[in-house]
């Protein structure tokens, strides 16, 4: 799901980068009339590239998180099955061995949760980076409009480019907030499975 949002984010960023190079072309043809437009197009191109870069990073991180989640479920399932075996064992020495297996699984899960929390923090930081950059585009868009108004017959092209950047920025922000919501919901899921390992309640192991 996260991958879907990231994909749309990247697609929009690519569109943005295309708008930037179009704008560059128009600015070049407009010559002196669009001199002030060039740094703006550079800024847009950079913003688009950064968005793609961070979204790629997020994708990698998200993949690690989902792999760890599968591993975590596997380990939890193992701990439950070990506890089931323990219920059927009377010999205290053998029960101690199973307790050791359960503890081992527990420790592994604790380590995995810590790792996931760390990656989630990184993930949020990358989203922040994109958010900051895209927010900067509001100023750029208004600058673009001012510059466009000085570009004579090129005004309508440059205006339409400003429009498309504005639209793209809005789309990216939307995807960012969807990503954040998704990450938040993952976090709460994780908490609930962390706090009530029912296999422990059943067997009384610590």
């Amino acid at each position: 799901m996260l991958a879907g949002h990231l994909f749309r984010m990247m697609r929009t960023a690519k569109l943005m980068s295309l708008s930037a190079s179009n704008a560059k072309g128009v600015a070049a043809r407009a010559g002196d009339k669009a001199l002030g437009f060039r740094p703006i197009t550079d800024f847009i191109a950079e913003m688009a590239n950064d968005t793609i870069h961070y979204a790629t990073k997020i994708n990698h991180l998200a993949l690690t998180v989902s792999r760890t989640a599968v591993n975590d479920l596997r380990t939890l399932d193992g701990a439950r099955r070990f506890a089931e075996a323990r219920e059927q064992i009377d010999d205290s020495g053998q029960a101690a061995f199973i307790d050791h297996l359960i503890r081992q699984a527990d420790e592994k899960r604790t380590a995995m949760h810590a790792e996931t929390a760390e990656i989630m923090a990184q993930l949020n930081a990358q989203l922040d980076e994109i958010h900051q950059r895209v927010r900067g585009s509001t100023i750029i868009v208004s600058n673009s409009r001012t510059e466009a108004s000085r570009a004579g017959e090129f005004q309508k092209y440059l205006d339409s480019i400003a429009d498309s950047v504005e639209l793209s920025a809005r789309d990216i922000q939307l995807e960012i907030s969807k990503c954040r919501k998704l990450i938040e919901s993952l976090d709460t899921l994780d908490d609930s499975s962390r706090n009530t390992p029912d296999y422990r309640l059943r067997t009384g192991t610590s």
């Binding site: 193992g78 070990f82 010999d91 199973i98 081992q104």
Partner: protein, 243 residues
Amino acid sequence: MKTTNLYNKGHRWVTFGRDPKKLAGIIDTNQYMIIDGQRALLMDPGGIEIFSAMLASVLRLCDIDTITDIFASHQDPDIISSLGLWDQTLPTARLHSPWIWESFLRHFGLNHIEYVGIPDEGKTLALESIEVQFIPAHYLHASGNYHVYDPEARILMSGDVGAALEADGAPLFVEDFDEHIEKMKLFHQRWMPSNRAKNDWVKRVRELDIDMMAPQHGRIFRGDDVKRFLDWFEALEVGSAIG
């Protein structure tokens, strides 16, 4: 899970199965273990759903460190989908299984146990006092498949060959061979794909001295019923249950 002794002279053969608590809808399986002094070989340890009962059962018989080796006749889930759990339980054990299934079996989660691929021609494994043979049974039914033969106890663990589909809680041994045929027929016709492989196997197994043939499903054949089975299986047309 019921534990039954099959042989106990110097080393021991045990079978586990007929679990009254087994989930409905899961095919009943027979698991086997040889305990030879401080070495034990767990054979076709079964699916994930019976792991807990199996772990408890083996721990009633021996210490966990005794189980040094696991054997999986082929890659089916009812044979070895518990592998990921055994991997956490027996990190220093070795798994003997057809070489062709290694990269497939790793999907069950193999992080500690060492995979020892059995070559196509089979091989032997020395335990403490005895040596068992991994006898090729390719295409019966998996394309890489072995059975375990113990020349001392004269037991052949025959995987899916000799399997029967019957109601839960059926007796462990074949009592009336002719009556048993109906419970085996469809299974062999449908699950066994190759007459050539089957006849080749029958020829190979006829050379062995067998007191007991122990399949992974259904009942164990003893004495003359082993020969009766070989005759019946040789005559049966397999790979033919459709159309």
